[in-house]
């Protein structure tokens, strides 16, 4: 009984602290949201506030006029995120698992082989040459999925760390005696046992793919294949570029009419909106996974 009371108190404490942290995390985002519906001139003359004196939906009208483009970009981003996450996470787990086996001879060699890529890379030029000249992936959906992010050393080590510390070797040994093949062991036992970390890595991979604009920048030239971040970053960075004093003078572009601040805020909101809608569903699995993993471990 005593433990229960303590647990309850602890939960109360946790709820309070987490509420404060959540509010602190959300306030700036709320400020962006409010700014996106604040009238442009108020935004400039009296700054950002949570209670603007004049509201305006102009920035969203600006977006609606380009809704076809935006919706298509959403579609591309969702597809890329889905493909990247499913393939990436599976390959990552398959790569991490053998390294977690204590009597696997190559475990350290492999670990070093993978870790090395976390630090050293040949730079964008050589990758670009390879992907575009040898693999010809420019302007295909694979250009957004395959380069750079599919398997990252960071995720591999996260998964390996989980196998090493949370899954007992004895489980494997007992199955091995039954004569199960390594591949079966991995898919039918190890993979389900690692749901918490798989869920984590899926989330990370998903976020990386959703936020990525690098691949789009280098390997996509047809705007029909732009993901949402490419669409947004293009507008944002054009503005950023033109704002730099030297560039503006150089090009004689000081009188180009740039999208205003509230439009930029609206773009930021549009970039995270689908996440707000999709995330709770993903989370369902994550929390389930966390609880499930805890019971089995």
């Amino acid at each position: 009984m005593k433990e229960n009371i303590e647990t309850k108190q602890f939960r109360k404490f946790a709820t309070i602290v987490l509420s404060v942290i959540s509010v602190l995390a959300l306030l700036p985002i709320l400020l962006i949201a409010v700014a996106s519906v604040t009238s442009e001139d108020v935004l400039i003359s009296s700054g950002y506030t949570f209670f603007p004196s004049k509201l305006s939906l102009d920035s969203y009208y600006y977006m609606v006029r380009q809704s076809a483009t935006i919706l298509r970009a959403y579609g591309i981003s969702i597809m890329v995120t889905f493909l990247g996450t499913v393939i990436g996470v599976l390959v990552t787990a398959m790569l991490a698992y053998p390294m977690a086996r204590k009597n696997f001879r190559l475990r350290n060699v492999m670990a070093f082989f993978i870790f090395f890529t976390m630090l050293f890379n040949g730079g964008i030029v050589s990758s670009y040459i390879m992907w575009s000249q040898i693999f010809h992936i420019k302007n295909t959906i694979w250009a957004l999925v395959v380069p750079n992010f599919l398997v990252t050393a960071f995720n591999v080590f996260l998964v390996r760390n989980y196998y090493v510390n949370s899954v007992h070797e004895s489980i494997i040994e007992s199955v091995q005696i039954d004569g199960a093949s390594e591949i079966r062991i991995f898919f039918s036992i190890m993979l389900p046992l690692s749901i918490p970390v798989i869920a984590t890595v899926s989330l990370f991979t998903g976020i990386i793919y959703w936020n990525d604009w690098i691949n789009g920048l280098y390997y996509i030239t047809d705007p029909k294949m732009y993901g949402i971040q490419n669409l947004l970053i293009r507008i944002m960075d054009n503005i950023q570029f033109l704002k730099s004093a030297s560039n503006a003078a150089l090009l004689g572009t000081q009188n180009i009419d740039l999208p205003g601040t509230s439009v930029r805020m609206a773009m930021a909101i549009i970039g995270i909106l689908p996440i707000l809608i999709i995330f709770p569903f993903v989370q369902q699995y994550m929390i389930k996974g966390v609880v499930l993993g805890a019971v089995k471990g």
Partner: protein, 513 residues
């Protein structure tokens, strides 16, 4: 377990798709070969020229672009036996994309500089076109003139064609006409930046809540370019490192000059008297945005149009207020003014002569030039009947299939492009005149090759970005900070850069006299 079976199934499907997709490039490759085959059966084969240009507008889809290309090809096939592929690249990433493509062995035949012609020359990015000019670009050569071509030359060899447009930028003060009228300010007496002080003070006195002077953009309140008669010797306008002043051929440290000290102390006075925006050094808003908000009186910037036209063209984006503009200095041309936007033939081009022929057409052929800027008549723009054009009814730059209207000042020949509806056609003549009459630097045509002092350049650039914005926006005190600034510049190796510039300049003078 069920989850994993489904997952596995999904993976199998995905794997199938990967294989299928890996097949696609081949099929597209065969498509292109068949297309080539087709052109061959037509007995004439055309050289293919890839034209990479920077665009501020939305990137068009491939279909929209293809129509524009085809419309251009109809002209170029006949006239110069060339087919063109347009490659619009977003401005902010233009330089690195072109550099990447050229390193990656991709085909780009014609590209432009964005203030970095000297780098393009020193790394052999562009081709020496001196000997091809006569045969392939004679009309452009005549149009642009040898004086301007000197600015795109290095050691006597021509490396590119400068964009032909109004380049004589005159510093102006753009202000709220309604307020000036109300307070009875006599703007005609304002002829220099120091004359502005009393005007700004009067505005401040009448409207205490108003900030009289807005920033043009981050770290710039427009004062930088108002110092007259300075040749930046092909350095970035806002980060000069060793300049020529007052028609002398001696390279000097701009930041140690009296002119610079006066400028900073003027900015400081404005800053301490609340005449200028406090956050100018770091603001994230541009002058137009600030003006629209209604609580700024004016800003200083350089424009190439006459006063009235400048004011009129800015009104819409400055919140619709009635604006006026007053020149507070005179235009000055140095090498950078001309070669900042230079069109070059890439050193990896397999058809340099055809590429140059096409480049020539962007300067001389009205149709080709306007196709690149406005796209297809009827679909992307309509003629207004008075020589000007507009977007089709109900469409705007963001929704037409193709436009790169905002690039009008960066490519080809500005004077043969259709003006947008609402612009004063007559001012073009004035602008052409300005190009010819503006005061020209004594070292016009000299291009500095910085490859020997790259290390010093990086260090000096960092020092400049640390001090300059604060100094010219008045937010730091020049009395105490300029000496520190100069000391740091010296440590970073500004002396070495100046000496190198002097050596190259002397050699240039010797060979040009």
């Amino acid at each position: 377990m069920k989850v994993f079976k489904t997952l596995f199934l999904v993976l199998a499907i995905v794997a199938g798709m990967v294989l299928a997709a890996c097949g696609t490039p081949d099929s597209t490759a065969s498509d292109t070969t068949s297309a080539d085959g087709k052109t061959q059966t037509e007995t004439v084969s055309y050289d293919k020229v890839v034209y990479a240009y920077a665009t501020f507008n939305n990137t068009p889809t491939e279909e929209a672009l293809a129509e524009v290309e085809e419309a251009i090809n109809v002209i170029t096939r006949e006239k110069i036996g060339v087919e063109v592929e347009l490659m619009p690249i977003a401005i902010w990433d233009y330089s690195s994309q072109v550099s990447l493509a050229l390193q990656g062995g991709e085909k780009i035949d014609v590209f432009q500089s964005l203030g970095d012609l000297n780098t393009a020359i020193s790394t052999s990015m562009c081709l020496d076109i001196t000997d091809m000019m006569g045969e392939n670009a004679a009309e452009s050569q005549e149009l642009i003139g040898d004086d301007w071509l000197a600015a795109t030359s290095f050691e006597g060899r021509i490396y590119g064609l400068p964009t032909y447009k109004p380049i004589a930028l005159t510093p102006m003060f753009v202000y709220r006409q309604d307020i000036a009228d109300e307070l009875g300010l006599d703007m005609s007496k304002v002829n220099s930046t120091s004359d502005l002080t009393s005007i700004l003070e009067q505005v401040k006195a009448a409207y205490p809540d108003m900030t009289p002077l807005a920033a043009v953009n981050t770290g710039n309140i427009g004062l930088g370019l108002t110092v007259e008669n300075v040749d930046y010797l092909t350095d970035n306008y806002y980060e000069p490192k060793g300049v020529l002043m007052n028609d002398e051929l001696t390279v000097v440290d701009y930041y140690a000059s009296d002119e610079f000290a006066d400028l900073c102390s003027l900015a400081r006075t404005w800053y301490t008297n609340d005449l200028v925006m406090k956050d100018a050094a770091t603001t994230s808003s541009t002058a137009a945005e600030l003006m629209s908000a209604g609580n700024y009186f004016g800003y200083i910037a350089s424009y190439s149009y006459p006063e009235e036209d400048t004011a009129a063209s800015l009104e819409a984006q400055c919140g619709g207020y009635d604006l006026g503009a007053k020149m507070i200095g005179s235009a000055f041309l140095d090498t950078t003014a001309i070669n900042a936007l230079t069109w070059m033939i890439s050193s990896t081009s397999d058809v340099p002569e055809s590429a140059l022929k096409f480049l020539n057409m962007t300067f001389t052929d009205e149709e080709v030039c306007n196709l690149i800027i406005y796209g297809i008549e009827g679909r992307d723009y309509v003629q207004n009947g008075d020589g000007t054009v507009s977007y089709p009814e109900g469409l705007d730059p963001a929704t037409v299939p193709y436009t790169s209207q905002l690039s009008c000042g960066t490519l080809g020949n500005f004077f043969i492009m259709y003006p947008m509806g609402g612009t004063n056609v007559e001012s073009l003549a004035w602008e052409l005149e300005q190009n010819k009459n503006a005061k020209t630097s004594v070292a016009m045509g000299f291009t500095f090759d910085n490859s020997n002092v790259k290390t010093e350049y990086t260090a000096v650039t960092n020092v400049i970005s640390q001090f300059l914005p604060g100094l010219i926006c008045g937010s730091i005190d020049p009395e105490t900070e300029i000496p520190v600034f100069l000391e740091r510049l010296d440590e970073a190796g500004l002396g070495t850069i100046i000496a190198e510039k002097q050596t190259q300049l002397d050699a240039w003078v010797a060979s040009n006299k």
